[in-house]
Every structure is written in C-alpha cells, then in structure tokens.
C-alpha cells in the first residue's frame, strides 16, 4: 500500500500508450510483434523488459530509441516524441555487442559521440576520462578494443553511452554474451554507476535473476503476439549486493515473475 502511494507522487518520464507493432515478413504476411502495450516509466527508475525471444522486448526498446516507429499507439518521453529526444541528443544506448571501433583507442571510442556532438577537444578528453574512471578502465584508455576482454569492452560501451549525459539509458541485453562471473561483477558495477548518475534505465533481458536483481520493476512480456503480461515490483532494499540473490525474498520474486509469464504457444 505504502509503495503504491509513493509511486503515484513520482514523475512519469515515459508514457507508452496502446503501442503495437506489425512487421511484414518475407512472404508478405503481417506478423504482430507487439500489441496493446500500456506502460508508464518513472523518472530515475530502473525498469526491465523481460521475456523470451520473440516477445518484442527489443522492439519496444527500439521504439523508445526512435530506431523503429510503432504502427499503432504513441510513445512520449516527457512531453516530447522519441525522435525529438534523440535529435536533442538525450539518449544513451548499450547494445548486446559492444559495437566498438577497432581503429580507435578506448579513450577515442568514448569520445566518439562527443565528437559527433561537437564538444571541444578539451571537454571531450575530460568527459571521456571521467567516464573511464567511473567504469574502472583509466589504466586501459590507450589500449585498442581488440586488446580487451569481453567484459572490459562492455564497460567501454557503457562509458560511451553515459558520456553524452543522456536523460535516458537504454540497454539491450548488454550482458547476455558474458560469462557468469563477469556478468555478476558488471551487475554490481552497474548498480553503483546507476546510483551515482540517477538516470532512468530501460534494461532488456531474458534472464529472470538478472532482471530481479537490477530492477525497481520488472515488466514481463509474453510472445505470440508480444504483450505485457504483468509488472512485478521489486522491493529488495538498495544498495543490493550479490548475497541478496540467496535471500528468500529474492527467490519469491523470481517465482512471482515466472508465474506472471504466460508462455502460450512458446
């Protein structure tokens, strides 16, 4: 009860209303990827979009990022459309693959969006250095991406996304290609970075434990057609440490998420 009351006073940052997406496949048939999505995302919230492949979670994220346009419904970020927010350069994105530029050093990779956005040389250097410090890669700033491990590359990716000081951080399965140990370390680091920056984060994943550990709320999506089955509020205290994963409450929440999921014809 207490929780709901607190939430109502919170500021809505993203309003997703009746959003649906229909693709046309190779044979010319219409495929409904998403249907009837209604969701409010609050300012400063860490929210996960969780579901199996084909549930449209990445599609939804790409619509918020203005990489796709919804066929029905609308998305507003504040008062603005995703396109306006993007053109205003207020979006940060982290993809599953690090998408780094081989020929640029770590430092120059983080500076890339700042170059595009016409920051001065000294500003670029300063911002990129502080971002690298935040993700713990100061020592490797002059290395090239092919000299780094997968986990380190993904840290560079996060540093680059944050370098533009985005209002919104969009993460599309950023850790799914990493091993379990690296993943846990990055979970903890991401939590610390998030606490420091207070960004709104939309985190796409197919890993239930990951979603519960990181999020304030977990949106469970089910496939065929992609739809929102329910939202699970995660009331684990913050800051969270790895140990919380063995607590009874954590396991209850994992079970609750699992039960919210509607497999249908999976």
């Amino acid at each position: 009860m207490m929780n709901t009351m607190v939430r109502e006073t919170r500021e809505v940052e993203i309003n997703i209303k009746d959003v649906g997406m229909t693709f046309r496949d190779n044979r010319g048939n219409d495929v409904e990827a998403l249907t009837g999505i209604n969701l409010n995302i609050y300012k400063g919230e860490f929210i996960s979009l969780l579901g199996p492949s084909g549930c449209g979670k990445t599609t939804l994220l790409r619509m918020v990022a203005d990489l796709l346009e919804p066929t029905t419904g609308s998305i507003h970020i504040g008062e603005r459309l995703p396109r306006e927010v993007r053109l205003d350069k207020k979006l940060g994105i982290v993809f599953q693959s690090p998408v780094l530029f081989d020929w640029r050093t770590v430092q120059k990779n983080v500076e890339l969006p700042l170059e595009v956005m016409k920051f001065s040389k000294s500003e670029r250097r300063e911002i990129a250095s502080s971002m690298l410090e935040m993700v713990g890669l100061t020592r490797f700033s002059e290395h090239y991406p092919n000299q780094l491990s997968g986990g380190m590359q993904q840290r560079v990716n996060i540093a680059r996304a944050l370098a533009v000081r985005p209002e919104l951080l969009l993460m599309d399965e950023p850790f799914s290609a990493l091993d379990e140990f690296t993943k846990e370390k990055l979970h903890e680091d991401l939590m610390q970075i998030w606490a420091k920056t207070n960004k709104t984060v939309i985190f796409v994943t197919h890993n239930i434990q990951e979603a519960v550990f990181l999020s304030d709320r977990v949106c469970v999506l089910s496939p065929h057609p992609g739809r929102l089955s329910g939202i699970v509020e995660v009331d684990l205290p913050r800051p969270r440490e790895i140990a919380v994963k063995s607590s009874a409450r954590f396991n209850e929440l994992v079970l609750k998420v699992r039960n919210t999921f509607d497999g249908g014809s999976l």
Binding site: I93, V99, W103, L112, Y144, P145, Q147, S149
Partner: protein, 278 residues
C-alpha cells in the same frame, strides 16, 4: 630472448626453404633443357649464368652493362606504373564512395566495371594507345585502369561490411551523413582498400611493362622485346624477368607495411590486457 630468436627463425625458415626448393626445381629444369635443346639459354638458363650476366660489367648496348641497362629503364617504367597506380587508387576510391552514396549509380556503373575488368590488357592496350596517341599516357592509363577495379570493389565491400548496429549507434547520436562517412564507413573500409592495393600494385607494374612492348621507346618492356628478338644479350631478358618479379613482390609488401603504419591497431598481436582480470 630464446622466444624472440625462435620467432625470427620461424619466419625466416619457410622463406629459406622456399628459395631452396625454387632453385632446385629451376636447376633440374635447366639441366634437362641443357641436355635436349641447342640454345638452352633461350629456354631456361642456369641461375648462376643469370647472376653472372647481372654482375658482368661488359657493355651490352649504348655503353651500359646489362644490369645498368635494366635499372635505367626500370625508373621510367616503374615511375609510370606508380603514377597510374596513384591515379587508379584515387579514382577507385571516389567511385566507390559515389556508388555507396547512390544506389542508382551503383546499379548503373557496376556492370561496366566488370566488363572493363574482363577485357585482357593485351586487347585494351592498343585501344588506349590509339585513343591517347601517346605511349607515356597509355602506360599511366592502363596502370590506372588495372588498379581502379580492385580498389573500387574493395572499398565498396568495406563500406558494405559496416554492421547495422554501428548505423543504429550513429542514428542514436543524431550524427550527420558526413560524420557517418568520415568516422565509420571510411575507416572501416581502409583494410579492404589495402587488400585491393596489395593485389593492384604488382598488376600495375606488369601492365606497365606490357604496354612498353607495344611501341619502341624506353622502358623495361621495350628492352624485354629487344632482348627476345636477339637485338642484345638474351640474359637481359632473364634479368628483367627476375627484377620485375622482385619489384612486384616488393610493391605488395610495401602496401602491407603502409597498412600497418596507417592502422596502428593491426600491429598489436599479443593482447596483454586480456590476461589481466576484468
């Protein structure tokens, strides 16, 4: 330290083996030719005979020894090959850029590129010569045409190899077209361009020599045909064969070295950082 020595040996050993095998096969052939032909030096002389000819200070033609003659002609031919190579590289790159910017241009032009590539140089050379009317210009044009195709297709392949996620990233940053090209597409294409250049460099040299043979002027090709027609020692021919093969390999190597200078991240083989913890 031991590792470094072993590393060096490992790179030199195959080369030594290769040279040894080459000499062995050549000499077996030379012995067979010697036993069966009347003028074996016209078919396959011994390697020592070629080396002897190279070192022999005896004047062969117009007051120059065989080696001097080859080297003085080489400057002319190689200079034109290099100029044509440069022109071809620039044209190839620019055309690939235009084809990338406009799909229509790509669809219209690409078949013509293929056709140009399929015409043998021997057929193309007289046509170019009659169009330009000048052997010097022809050499440059032919070398340029030969360079042009591998560079254009290489560059285009490089542009098309850029992953969709990089476009997405630049889209999110609201990057302008010019930034997409200068910061993503062109740097990605550079290794592909060098692949084209490594193929094109020896081709430009070969083509330049071939064009020389068309019309008596100076140059390696002219010397080559004179030697073959017995206007001078046949060993001049053999010297040119070895010299141009050597320069051809060297030109390709040179492109490889240039690539490593331009792309510092290609130099790094051992990834030290990977060994350390994340």
């Amino acid at each position: 330290m031991m590792n470094r020595i072993w590393g060096k040996t490992r790179t030199i050993l195959p080369l030594l083996l290769w040279i040894l095998l080459f000499v062995a096969v050549w000499e077996v052939g030379a012995l067979l030719v010697e036993a069966s032909k009347r003028t074996p030096e016209n078919v396959l002389p011994h390697i020592y005979q070629i080396i002897e000819a190279a070192l022999n200070p005896k004047k062969v033609s117009s007051g120059e020894s065989a080696s001097q003659l080859v080297l003085s002609s080489a400057g002319l031919t190689l200079g034109r090959a290099a100029l044509g190579f440069l022109v071809g590289t620039i044209c190839g790159f620019v055309l690939a850029l235009i084809m990338k910017i406009s799909k229509i241009v790509e669809k219209v032009i690409f078949p013509y590129l293929m056709i140009i590539q399929m015409i043998p140089i021997l057929g193309m050379a007289p046509i170019i010569l009659s169009i330009t009317g000048d052997i010097n210009t022809s050499r440059i044009v032919i070398a340029a045409i030969l360079t042009f195709y591998p560079v254009a297709t290489g560059t285009l392949a490089g542009f098309n190899s850029v992953e969709k996620s990089k476009y997405d990233l630049m889209h999110i940053y609201a990057a302008r077209k010019i930034d997409l090209y200068t910061k993503v597409l062109i740097p990605t294409a550079i290794p592909y361009i060098f692949t084209g250049l490594k193929i094109a460099a020896p081709m430009a040299i070969t083509a330049s020599i071939l064009v020389d043979t068309l019309q008596g002027d100076k140059g390696l090709g002219t010397l080559l045909s004179q030697s073959l027609k017995h206007a001078m020692s046949i060993y001049v021919f053999w010297l040119i064969v070895f010299f141009s093969a050597f320069v051809g390999i060297l030109s390709s190597k040179l492109m490889g070295n240039l690539e490593r200078i331009v792309l510092p991240h290609k130099r790094i083989r051992v990834s030290r950082a990977k060994e350390e913890s994340i």
